[in-house]
Symmetry: C2
């Protein structure tokens, strides 16, 4: 399944940007001297938490759903997701006039469940520890004749997320800056590999790093091993958005070629990054969405010290009660 025809290219990212016009936001690149001082590098934060639906996932969902034919639209789409892909698919489905069923874990943040429902998505909850979301999704899709929209291991999803990289590279060009490094939180890898395709063409000198919870470091270990390695079952982290079991086949095929390596963060690092982002950048981020900033602040590779480093803050869908707890924490 990883033959070249299934892998997206830079041209697919460009085509995705066309399909997204008017449907996704150009998100700003933010920075602050306190963040630079703590990281020991110049940090440029692309704030995708300000994207429509509160995360970058709207980009891939829009690109995928835009390509569903008129005949297929009536039966709609099915997606499974802990919440951000869910909201992206629900919103894109509404914009394109399709029904959407979203299979979500019963412990997903309420703000994410509410976001899906607000866009008219039908939510089906499942038990993360006892049921298979893939099986539930496939059964629902078969019954309805609907299309399953994968959250990362899909050519159109990867190309769609990649427009965040297209924008970021162009914003840095406009600012007259070249990024030496870029760090992106990584679950299945759809975003980081889409970004890598954009940067390969527009900013090839930029070395790109994954950021993951330390107990959930499948990308870091897979990149080290040169092959896909899974996480141990049952690992825990507050970074709910990026807890996928292992790299995708398509995403790893791209990542193996284009990524520099993997960085690891603790839950405390994620909370610290959320506090720094709120205090200095004036943005609300969720734990998984702040993982790359956490890595920049606390696990920056020696080769990036003193250099220019791009960081994606990818989502802000956190329950306000949890956000308050993070703001009052001190780790």
């Amino acid at each position: 399944m990883t033959d070249a025809a299934n892998l997206p290219t830079f041209d697919d990212v460009l085509a995705a940007a066309q399909r997204q016009r008017g449907l996704v936001r150009i998100t700003p690149v933010l920075s602050h001297a306190e963040i630079d001082a703590e990281a020991g590098a110049r940090i440029f934060v692309k704030a995708e938490c300000l994207q429509v639906t509160g995360s970058f996932k709207m980009r891939g969902a829009t690109n995928r759903l835009a390509q569903i034919s008129d005949q297929q639209r009536a039966a709609g789409v099915v997606a499974f997701s802990s919440g951000n892909h869910a909201q992206g698919v629900a919103r894109a489905a509404r914009l394109f006039g399709m029904p959407a069923v979203i299979v979500m874990p019963s412990d997903a943040p309420q703000v994410k469940i509410d976001g899906v429902k607000a866009d008219g998505g039908e939510v089906v909850l499942y038990d993360r520890n006892a049921e298979s979301r893939e099986e539930i999704s496939n059964r629902l899709a078969a019954k309805r004749g609907a299309i399953v929209v994968p959250s990362y291991d899909d050519k159109d999803i990867i190309a769609g997320q990649g427009t965040a990289g297209l924008e970021f590279a162009r914003q840095m060009q406009d600012a007259g800056e070249t990024l030496d490094g870029l760090i992106c939180c990584t679950g299945g890898g759809g975003l980081i590999t889409g970004i890598a395709l954009a940067f390969e063409r527009l900013s090839p000198e930029t070395r790109i790093w994954t950021a993951e919870p330390e107990a959930h470091d499948d990308w870091a270990r897979s990149l080290e091993a040169g092959e896909i390695v899974a996480n141990a079952p049952g690992t825990r982290s507050i970074c709910d958005a990026i807890l996928t079991p292992e790299p995708g086949k398509l995403t790893f095929a791209i990542g193996k070629r284009l990524l520099a390596g993997g960085l690891r963060i603790s839950d405390g690092d994620a909370r610290h990054a959320m506090r720094m982002a709120a205090r200095h950048l004036k943005i609300v981020s969720e734990p998984g969405g702040a993982a790359a900033l956490a890595a920049a602040l606390r696990s920056l590779p020696a080769e990036l010290k003193g250099k220019r480093v791009g960081v994606l803050v990818t989502g802000g869908n956190v329950d306000m009660a949890d956000f308050q707890k993070v703001l009052s924490s001190t780790d």
Copy 2:
């Protein structure tokens, strides 16, 4: 002092935008269905809390300081401000290589005092109830041969803040939308009148409204009276950024011609707007900075119901402990 030569024009706003290139950010326009539903209108939020130094004040400060001659730069600048203008001037002074002394009330939020110091500004604290910040500033400026940079009643400051309006009007044009109304929090009136100059040319159909604390409604009453009316001394509000005693002479001369009227909000309305902005737009705002959103949500004029309304969220410089309290409040 309000003869035409002192009043900025649309061309002054265009010239300010040129001087600001590369020094200020293009801030995004955000929206969310929950905010629209509660306001009963389509609300477009320009997030100036994401501006450099955490508020729009960087725009005017940059435009003013860019025009100080090389000979004058060594003696530097003096400004008085509760905090956002202070930070804008301190940053612009650093960028242009000038010393800056900032006269701030002793009860200013710590985050604002820290922001000034981080940019190398020298902070002089005064007692808001017992001392005159104008006198202190003038004395300091005379002693040093420094230039006093006013926070609003100045042609270059108004034109500089106006670039927020230039950007906003163009962003709405790009989105294919025309604003029926626009609401902006108003202290001295530098921002709203600069915006009004931009909209007069680019979007003349947009009716522009001030937003103020209900006990500090000098603009609303002045617009009603057709002449400058001051607030009663000693009025209180959590909106520290916009508690000026009365409209400026220059700003009122523009405002009288171009503004539709004034809206009033309570402290609870401001807190509510801060919560809505965090939850749905993923931005951190300060009380005064959220006043226009508060007015849109709770005091929207009948003529704007069902219409397209632009809102400026102008600053995000709030102490994190206070921000947490607001997030847990329910008014």
